[in-house]
């Protein structure tokens, strides 16, 4: 009996496909996918190590279409963003990208993201989470329009030392002169493509923003252009490794979006995440200003640190202890960094245990021949990201 109906199997998740999906599917040999804001996103295509090294040594391509994108436009767009964000947004030039965080009334971080000033009165905000409610809630009193354009903009991150060369192969002359955190535009046939020198990898790299209709053709052209320079699609797992090496926090992993927390004390302020440099008190009113000013003068309950952990076992989810064997926090992200040969972790600690020079230990559990073993591993607080090569910032971009 043929009961085939046009409905998904009961355990199949109904996920959206990005405009690159046909190409992702073909390349995704492991067929390992995850949900990302309602989209089907590859975790690993073929081999994690290969994807990781593609990004560090040649070029990785990551489909970031599912990243939430808002078009923010209107005569008051700048003033609006200046209230929304903790950073002084009046200083952003057209063609510039800024890293931003934004807070609720209590000065707790709702999310982080990047904001692209596309014209005088038009911006694009990219963020991990969806925020239409809060964006609208901030709009009264401003002449501004906010539109979710996630599905209207297909996006690729092209990252790694050979990325500039590969893109030049599309005829994009002059790309090497684009400075970090700057935006330019190129043509792909008839279609304009916005290019920013941004990324989540800490390496030379670009993000390309295009209309969905040209996504597949562009992908093919890009892969063709990069085949001699080690181009390779990469999944979220490899990206996670490189972003930790680069010292980038991930919303929902290294901190909880304030509006989704249930328990008290689980949110974090910018100061508690090492983002004090993004909070500018000397500007017009912004959300959380009063609470943040108070925190700045009175001190924060938590500190966020980068750790260099002894040994080579990633300290994932480990408790962190002080020298009195008291738990003072826990690890939010951890990875063994193949390129720097260091064992990196991010941790959120109670004040003052995050001060430089504090003696700390990570409690690492591991399974050895069916026996759980615990190790107290020494860690030291480091100020700089593990991976921060000169070519990441070089202008003109180094071409390989």
């Amino acid at each position: 009996m043929n009961l085939k109906r046009n409905v998904p199997d009961h355990d199949e998740r109904m996920l959206l496909n990005t405009p690159f999906h046909s190409r992702l599917q073909k390349a995704c040999e492991l067929n390992e996918w995850e949900e990302w804001k309602g989209y089907k996103a590859p975790v690993i295509f073929t081999d994690l190590a290969q994807e990781y090294f593609a990004m560090r040594n040649s070029c990785g391509v990551f489909d970031l279409t599912p990243m939430t994108k808002y078009k923010i436009e209107g005569p008051d767009a700048t003033a609006y963003l200046d209230k929304l964000m903790t950073r002084n947004m009046t200083k952003q030039r057209v063609g510039q990208v800024l890293y931003v965080i934004w807070c609720d009334d209590e000065g707790q971080v709702l999310d982080d993201g990047t904001i692209f000033r596309l014209t005088d009165k038009r911006y694009r905000l990219c963020s991990a989470g969806r925020h239409m409610d809060w964006l609208q809630c901030t709009a009264p009193g401003f002449d501004v329009e906010i539109i979710d354009e996630t599905a209207e903009v297909a996006a690729l991150a092209v990252q790694g030392p050979t990325s500039c060369n590969i893109l030049q192969g599309l005829g994009w002359d002059g790309l090497e002169n684009l400075k970090p955190f700057n935006i330019t535009h190129f043509q792909f046939g008839e279609t304009p493509i916005t290019v920013s020198r941004t990324g989540f990898t800490g390496d030379l790299g670009y993000e390309l923003w295009m209309p969905p209709h040209c996504a597949e053709a562009f992908w093919d052209k890009l892969m063709e252009a990069g085949k001699d320079r080690g181009i390779m699609p990469i999944g979220s797992r490899a990206l996670d490794m490189v972003r930790i090496e680069a010292g980038f926090l991930q919303a929902g992993v290294d901190f909880v979006h304030a509006e989704t927390t249930v328990r008290s004390g689980r949110t974090r302020s910018p100061f508690e995440l090492g983002f004090g440099w993004l909070v500018h008190f000397d500007k017009a009113h912004f959300n959380g200003r009063k609470a943040l000013y108070q925190e700045k003068t009175q001190g924060s309950p938590h500190q966020f640190v980068k750790l260099d952990v002894a040994g080579n076992r990633p300290a994932e989810h480990a408790f962190i202890y002080n020298k009195h064997k008291k738990a003072v926090g826990s690890v939010t992200s951890a990875v063994w960094s193949p390129i720097t040969k260091t064992n990196i972790a991010f941790a959120s600690l109670e004040t003052p245990w995050g001060e430089a020079g504090t003696e700390l230990y990570a409690e690492i559990y591991f399974l050895r021949e069916l026996k759980w073993t615990r190790e107290m591993v020494k860690c030291s607080i480091v100020e700089e990201a593990a991976y921060n090569p000169v070519h990441r910032r070089a202008v003109p971009a180094r071409c390989l």
Binding site: D105, G141, F281, H285
Partner: protein, 520 residues
Amino acid sequence: MATDTFDVIVIGAGHNGLVCSNYLSRAGLKVLVLEAAAQAGGACITRSFSEGFAVSACAHSVSQLHPDIVGDLGLESLGLQYAVKNLKTIALSEDGNHLSILGERVEGAQLSDSDRQAYGIFYNRTKRFAAVLANLAGKCPPRLVEGGLTEKLSLFKLGLDIRMLGKTEMREFMRIATINIFDVLEEQFENPLLKGAISFDAVLGAHMGPRSPNTVLAYIHRQMGSLFGFAGPALPQGGMGTVTQAIARAAVANKVDIRYNCPVKEITIDHGRAVGVVLQDGSTYSAAQIVSNADPGTTFKGLVGYPKLDSGFARRVENIRTKSDCAKLHLTLDGLPEFTGSSDAGQRMLIAPDAAYVERAFNHSKYGEYSSAPAMEILIPSVHDASLAPQGKHVMSIIVQYAPFMLRTGWDTQSKQAFTNIIVQRLARYAPNLPGLIIDSELLTPQDIEQEFRITGGHWHHCELALDQIAMMRPVYGATRYSTPIEGLYLCGAGCHPGGNVMGMAGKNSAAAIIKGRST
């Protein structure tokens, strides 16, 4: 232009703004009051609307003016006199078989003994409950969390006050405080007129029908008047403006500088702190503390502006319930109307023949319509006060429910005339000779009240009195206890604890909070 310097600027010369400035100046502060209107009083004024007649244009009787304020400010020696006190409430019946209520006494309308007894119990019980509120009304409400010692004591005292009611009474308080007046009345009374009258008092000025939650609370709030010495409403000689004129005189005597025709356009804020105001005409004034007698909506949305407030707070302000259904009709009459079965048109008369009538009247407003059979409170103050009308003529002041702020078809001369006709026809059922006596009329819809008195939504209490918007939650989390998220900016109007009516406690408590704020 302004070279004078002031310690405090009060925006608005409503009775609360004036009370507040009196107490501030008595504490040695230099106070400037800036009022948009040409006279003092806000929603508590006497004005003319027809040649030779004057009327209390918004509030029309005193039933909660706090004795402390009258005493502290010496209002009696400054002109506050009553033409009449303790008016009876007459619940009108079309057949003339009316019910009369004063304090705990109720008679007429073939009232059964059990109803009379039940009313006595009900009256005294709600009065005891009102005493809990009255105690709380006399001070700044305690902070819900993280309060200091005095606040903890104050919270403790509130708990104690409730506990001191006794076990049975406390249980009853907790039980009825959250249910609706309709259910309570059904439990306790038979007489429809009695139920109608009580339910009317429970919905007066609110976007509520007798079956709405919070109506018991509203009734108890109203009952506070009985603790302030008003068994029934009182009419000031010369109309309600007499009250605010007296408070203004006290203020002037206390060296408060009151300036009229000075609408404030904007509160100036520097790095999260209020530092002054800008008037509509562009002139500026500065002071270390700014107090707003305007309603919370006007203050935060209009004078501060949402861009200068945190988004979450702005959203809460936007969601404050300020919808009013209360209209005011003024009639000038060529003689005293005769109410069937009644010889005393000088009392407070209600058209609320039963609780279901009031609920049905409310139904319309839910859908943006005015009631086809409205409920009303009728006063003819000229019966007691010859200053309000030429000899032999009278002025009638009627509070009419329900007339929605947003009428679906829009308020214009046509819809206002149509609604006026409905009201007059309804009145004629009780006073058949009334229509023939009418010389002139004036209907104030909630929109007109918003316009004339600068009250968002035209709301009686500036914002709804309900469990989620009272005491330490009034008007809204983030702006309670007279302070606001803007340092140096305070509230002192009806939108604060303990709410509206011509009472003065919001102004008095606010002054105390401001004085305290200066010392810390």
